[in-house]
Amino acid sequence: MTSSNSPKPEKKITKNTEISKTQKKKTKNAETPKTEKKKTKNAETPKTEKKKTKNAETPKTEKKKNAEIPKIEKKKTKSAEIPLTDGKTKRDREIAKEENKKKTKKPKLSNGTSKQRDEGSKKGVAEGKGEEGKMNVFPMNRIRTMIKGEDPDMRVSQEALLAINNAVEKFLEQFSQEAYAFCVRDRKKCLSYDHLAHVVSKQRRYDFLSDFVPERVKAEDALRERSAAGTGGH
């Protein structure tokens, strides 16, 4: 954990990274137009965030979501496939109840064979409860699909899927904790983009996320650095 860098090289690093970041941003926008829609959705409902009371927020936001965004229901139905066994706290139970009410549509399975796989994975999970005291948090088929998306020829064993499932859970927990620490420093109540981006920029182990979560920079500063780097086109 040695961080004895002088300020000058940091500036250089930021310049180089920012240029590459802007380029990649453009490619992302071209590849995934839906992300833009998500942003508009966030902009459409700014009022709900201002409300302080938690209980009041949940029912209204749900209604608005159902009315404005029908696609989210599909996502929720898919998430409904996973059995909710973490009912320890009351809040989680309430959330589970709400989710149960929303299970109006059955999730569509892409292939017939996926049913067998689901059953297999569920059995494994059920058997593992007594021994390990944990259950797999994310659906195994989803992880398998993501992995095969990269390298179709590569096979992945059941052990590897379990290992990745656990690794992701630990990664998510640690990342959330560190982001929350910055959230506390800023004395804010809601964990948001800036806190996650700050974690990524501060720690080296999260460098692989720097392209996805660049820290915010004002347009003026970005333009200056562009002109300084020479990409402005003289």
Partner: protein, 138 residues
Amino acid sequence: MDQDVQDRALPIANVGRIMKQILPPSAKISKEGKQLMQECVTEFISFVTGEASDKCHKENRKTVNGDDICWALSSLGFDNYAEAIGRYLHIYRQGEREKINHTKKYENPQNQTQINRAPPPPLLLSRVENPPPTNQSG
């Protein structure tokens, strides 16, 4: 198109739930934060899996197993994860052995009582398929 995009990311409900569990009850998480975390987690899986896959290619193997994932995690700077998952895999393998022994014991009395009528147990087929991918070629 919708399904493809959704299948390539982990469900956001699970991501949000884990974040709530690990953070104190007073913490709030914005929708933007959850979506961003969802993308980060997706990238993490690609990052680790890519490293493990490269190793298997170098060694002319076609199956990624748990040890490859542990190796990838340690080489990418997540040593504490690699240790924890190594212990997890150890427990998992013990559990698998116990299951096999249990089924053998369970099948023996059936064979004794009904020697002529021995229906083929479907579990054996599923288990026969499992061992090949888990072979550790050192």
